[in-house]
Assembly symmetry: C2
Homo-oligomer: 177 residues x 2
Amino acid sequence: MLAEVFREHGFEGASLAVISARTGLGKGSLYHFFPGGKAEMAACVLDGIEAWFETRMFRPLREDPDPAAALRAMLAATDSYFRSGQRICLVGAFALGAVRDTFAQRIDAYFAAWRDAVAAALGRAGVAEAKAVDLAEEAVTAIQGALVTASALQDPGLFGRTLDRIAARIEAALAGG
Amino acid sequence: MLAEVFREHGFEGASLAVISARTGLGKGSLYHFFPGGKAEMAACVLDGIEAWFETRMFRPLREDPDPAAALRAMLAATDSYFRSGQRICLVGAFALGAVRDTFAQRIDAYFAAWRDAVAAALGRAGVAEAKAVDLAEEAVTAIQGALVTASALQDPGLFGRTLDRIAARIEAALAGG
DNA sequence: CAATGTCTGTACCGATCGGTACAGACACGG
DNA sequence: CCGTGTCTGTACCGATCGGTACAGACATTG
């Protein structure tokens, strides 16, 4: 709920009035749970996002005995989490905004972890390291770009096409391409 | 100058105080030139961006007698305009923020024009239409993604590597790949 | 010179911002 | 029953928001 407010209005645009209205909590409650104010609310939202990705995507990519399956599951989870491109990436949006500095370290860590987890899975699947790192970077970059352009063009098919392209490249790499 | 303020602070974050300080213009001057206030300032910035891309990138892609050269020039212009990823795309940032609705039509038009211009150049260079449209979409998406992740990771090499990847795919398509 | 129109700084407006203070509502253990 | 700690609504704070009003500075005309 809190996360959706930040997604829809951004950090600056998510005023306490909006947050209060959408969550149904008065300022008293809000500041009871988040003594640090808006910054702590956003940090808590980032905590949730990081935890979700870590357990549902990054860890399987790093540890699943079947790395190829983990890579396919990652793409499926990505499509599901971002609602086929109709939902934006809050971390990416923060990266482009003025709050970037406030959460710089966490934003950096999120994308680095994603890229490294994909590279690790590719490596475990037998892909040469240089190729794995390059493909992982391309995959994460393409996903973020698709979220931007899908939101801009309101094109419901764009996100899926991007994921298909990544899937094809990953399969080719796994096959030894 | 105005554009840089919006780039650094976003639309909501670019308060009149900040704009006034950075431009050196008082409120009186600001509202003399932009009677419509902040929204008109942002619209004017978008005008400038659209004009720049239209004349420097989209038109050459559509009309240059040498489409292959225009495609290479497009990548070089992209690297230059976005300062190798150290500058963000204001239109993309707007697309992810709350101002998206205000400028929805222009944001849509910007990305559609970019994609279609690239596809047109590829088509004129002999690439089959389906392949041209797909590659154009991939290129624009990858560029936007690189701007997000480069900003997030503060990685100065990421943007260049992404452009290299796109260049290689374009060259392969031009060669009949 | 006076008159005109363009530009600019400043004072000010009501609204809203993030944040605080605090009194009461409520469930609980004694 | 009383006390205690958790939660919540509301009134309020100073600061800042986007925007307006307006008087003067200034160069350009006649």
